[in-house]
């Protein structure tokens, strides 16, 4: 394997990692864009998503590494698992907003943010108590088809991750840009007061933001499981932190920014691990973040948050 192969392989790895971070970063950005709230429960909504997918797949009889599926059944099972996972995590997101955050919306200061940290720990402990504290052998129903370029390897699971993430991100971009509710969302992000005066149901928009963000996190959780064939109650923290960094790097509140940030973090992680040392990855990621913020305080693509009047 030459340095060229290594670079190519890390491009593949970095893109897969980056797509996952991007999906997760979108949830931070959607909520921040509208409420100016950093939603820390998002970390563990992602983790819950991977567990939901785990149980749905096991429910379909896909267990461990021994069940391989092909063709339509594979697509059907994956789509069903994806749909259930996104609905459940989206529901959790809506529940968190409706039951816990809405009563706090009038309260100024960090109360809401602290609450999301609390919710995060509650989710975390529910999973430990309900699913156990050990790591889970996440099912992998994908056929072991491998494409090789020189010495770099591209597997089915990477292609799957790219396809799912691209479709979801494309769908979100379309939704935010071209649908009525999406426009309402952008209007609310720009100025909630004015949006309300124009007859936009701001509560509904906020709920939608939580639903979409959490559903994407759920999809990210399922992808995580399929990619690593592993899940555990602990996965939310390091992935969540990187994704949050990605959102800030791209410009928090900015949808394309979150995608760009996610991909960049994924690529940096992959390349620094291969060409420097894994031990240095975090140092490099966070130093770059500091540098970007020093020179571009609003992130790469600029921050978008409600105008304060």
């Amino acid at each position: 394997m030459t340095a060229y192969d290594l670079a190519l392989q890390q491009l593949i790895n970095g893109f897969s990692l980056g797509s996952m971070y991007a999906l997760l970063a979108l949830g931070f950005t959607l909520v921040y864009g509208i409420l100016e709230l950093i939603n820390f429960s998002h970390f563990n909504v992602f983790m819950v998503g991977s567990f939901v997918a785990f149980y749905v797949l096991e429910g379909f009889g896909v267990v461990g590494q021994n069940t391989i599926m092909t063709g339509l059944p594979l697509v059907g099972v994956l789509l069903a698992a994806l749909a259930v996972t996104m609905l459940v995590t989206g529901g959790i997101g809506v529940g968190i907003e409706r039951l816990l955050l809405r009563p706090l919306r009038a309260v100024k200061g960090p109360a809401a943010m602290i609450l999301t940290i609390g919710v995060s720990y509650v989710l975390f402990n529910i999973v430990i108590l309900g699913a156990g504290a050990d790591s889970k052998n996440f099912p992998n129903p994908l056929p072991p088809i491998v494409f090789t370029f020189e010495n770099a390897v591209l597997r089915m699971r990477e292609i799957l991750i790219w396809v799912i993430s691209l479709l979801l991100m494309g769908g979100l971009t379309y939704f935010v840009g071209y649908t009525k509710l999406g426009k309402a969302m952008r209007a609310t992000a720009q100025d909630p007061e004015a949006a309300r005066m124009m007859g936009i149901d701001v509560d509904r928009v906020i709920m939608m933001a939580f639903f979409l963000g959490s559903a994407l996190a759920g999809a990210g959780g399922m992808i995580f499981g399929l990619y690593y064939n592993y899940t555990s109650f602990i996965i939310g923290f390091s992935a969540g932190l990187r994704a949050f960094t990605a959102a800030v790097l791209g410009g928090i509140g900015n949808v394309p920014g979150a995608m760009l940030g996610g991909l960049l973090i994924g690529l940096i992680e992959a390349y620094s691990g291969a060409f420097i040392a894994t031990a240095w990855t975090d140092v490099i990621i966070f130093s770059l973040l500091v540098l970007v913020l020093v020179f571009r305080p609003n992130g790469l693509l600029g921050r978008m948050a409600p105008n304060k009047s």
């Binding site: 790895n13 990692l17 504290a133 790591s135 995580f224 109650f233 602990i234 691990g273 031990a279």
Partner: protein, 414 residues
């Protein structure tokens, strides 16, 4: 002084004993000897912890039932040194547990921990409280090394006893095995940034170099990160004969999974951190197939020694799982404490913390792994390191370490 909580626990203990059919009247008069049982019950190493704790509870229940120490009754209290936020062992939690143990006047000895990082945090506190602990699994040599005595046993006396040997033997002996038996000429080394993992990888690296093996590199994994493909792809490019990993299950599970995809043909090996039900279950077959791992003890589980066969049957009847080697070293640790208490009692002295600590230094105890005795630092005198390879055996549960790890022999000592 009996606090309300300890009264409750003692009452619960008596109630449990009554439920098991133990005679009532005698229990009430017996003095309580509390044994702390510290292990990592939450997270990536929890299954191994349960297998160890089962053996500890079983040993003391048997001692109580057989009236091993007349006039006394053992009560085992569990302490969890892992935290949910760490997802695995947490030295800070170990320190808290050690303080709790030391401040409990009924506590006379302890068993645990499995993790050297925790051991390093607990040892100085236990030393100040004169409370002896016997570890059935933690192998980092620094804790008992007289060079670091001021740090880990400030009161001077040995406090941290072991029924396993240390990584001063485990790492280098495995390096010998890999070079001599597996004919490995080049190797890449990873660790999991924990006290045990780093120490193990260091000891291994030094001996591998001494044996003329070409060490192509060394990197450190973050146990909380999910993606090790960067490090593994780099290893693939360097194309070593073997990969050695010093560390425990949290990183080890993910490493085994991803290494199977990226470097399937490279020989992979680890220490006793890679011998556990957690690794078998979390990484699963086929990813774990072929991994080599060591235990810092002679291989006892599954031996045909009638004592061991009988023990295995009792254990399996009670818990419906098979004991692994560190269940046996844990059982042996309990036997050492029971034997010490028995001897002290027979000499007509009260069974106290310091009496047990002093006795452990000189006693020779017949156990499942043979006669166990400790040197002046608390280390076991036997230095055997056993080598295993994971080979799937479909006749048993796939997360059963006693049957999925095949014994390959004793690692050559240098």
């Amino acid at each position: 002084m009996l606090t309300r909580r300890s009264t409750f626990k003692a009452a619960a203990g008596v109630a449990a004993a009554a439920a098991l059919g133990a005679p009532h009247a005698a229990e009430a008069a017996d003095k309580i000897l509390k044994i702390g049982n510290d292990n990592s019950f939450t997270g990536a190493d929890s299954q191994g912890a349960v297998r160890i704790a089962n053996a500890v509870h079983m040993a003391f229940e048997e001692a109580n039932a057989g009236k091993a120490v007349p006039g006394y009754k053992f009560v085992v209290e569990n302490f969890d040194d892992a935290t949910a936020t760490a997802g695995q062992y947490d030295p800070a939690q170990g320190a808290i547990n050690a303080r709790k143990m030391v401040s409990d006047k009924l506590m006379v000895a302890a068993i645990g921990p499995s993790m050297s990082g925790v051991g390093k945090a607990m040892s100085p506190i236990l030393s100040m409280g004169d409370l002896a602990i016997i570890t059935p699994a933690s192998t980092n040599p620094d804790i008992t090394d007289p060079k670091f005595a001021r740090q880990y046993r400030p009161k001077g006396k040995a406090i941290y006893f072991r029924t396993v040997t240390t990584d001063a033997y485990q790492g280098p002996n495995m390096a010998n095995y890999m070079v001599d038996v597996l004919k490995v000429k080049s190797i890449y080394i990873l660790d999991d940034s924990g006290a045990y993992g780093v120490g193990m990888a260091d000891a291994f690296e030094a001996q591998a170099k001494k044996k003329g093996c070409n060490v192509l590199g060394r990197d450190r994994l973050d146990p909380k990160a999910a993606d090790y493909s960067a490090a593994l792809t780099k290893i693939k490019q360097l194309n070593p004969d073997a990969l050695y990993y010093g560390g425990v299950g949290q990183a080890g599970t993910k490493l085994a999974k991803q290494a199977y995809d990226i470097i399937p043909k490279v020989i992979k090996a680890g220490g006793d951190g890679m011998v556990s039900a957690d690794v078998l279950q979390g990484a699963g077959f086929p990813a774990v197939e072929g991994w080599y791992a060591t235990q810092a003890s002679p291989h006892i589980a599954g031996s045909h020694d009638p004592k061991v066969v009988e023990f295995t049957k009792r254990y399996h009847d009670k818990y419906n799982m098979y004991p692994d080697d560190y269940s046996i070293t844990a059982y042996d640790a309990a036997l050492a404490i029971i034997a010490s208490a028995k001897r002290i009692n027979a000499e007509g002295r009260p069974v106290t913390r310091s009496a047990i600590r002093d006795m452990l230094e000189k006693i020779e105890v017949p156990t499942l792994q043979g006669l166990v005795s400790f040197d002046a630092n608390g280390d076991i005198k036997d230095h055997t390191v056993s080598v295993f390879q994971i080979q799937k055996d479909g006749n048993f549960e796939l997360n059963d370490p006693a049957h999925q790890y095949v014994y390959k022999g004793v690692a050559p000592q240098s």
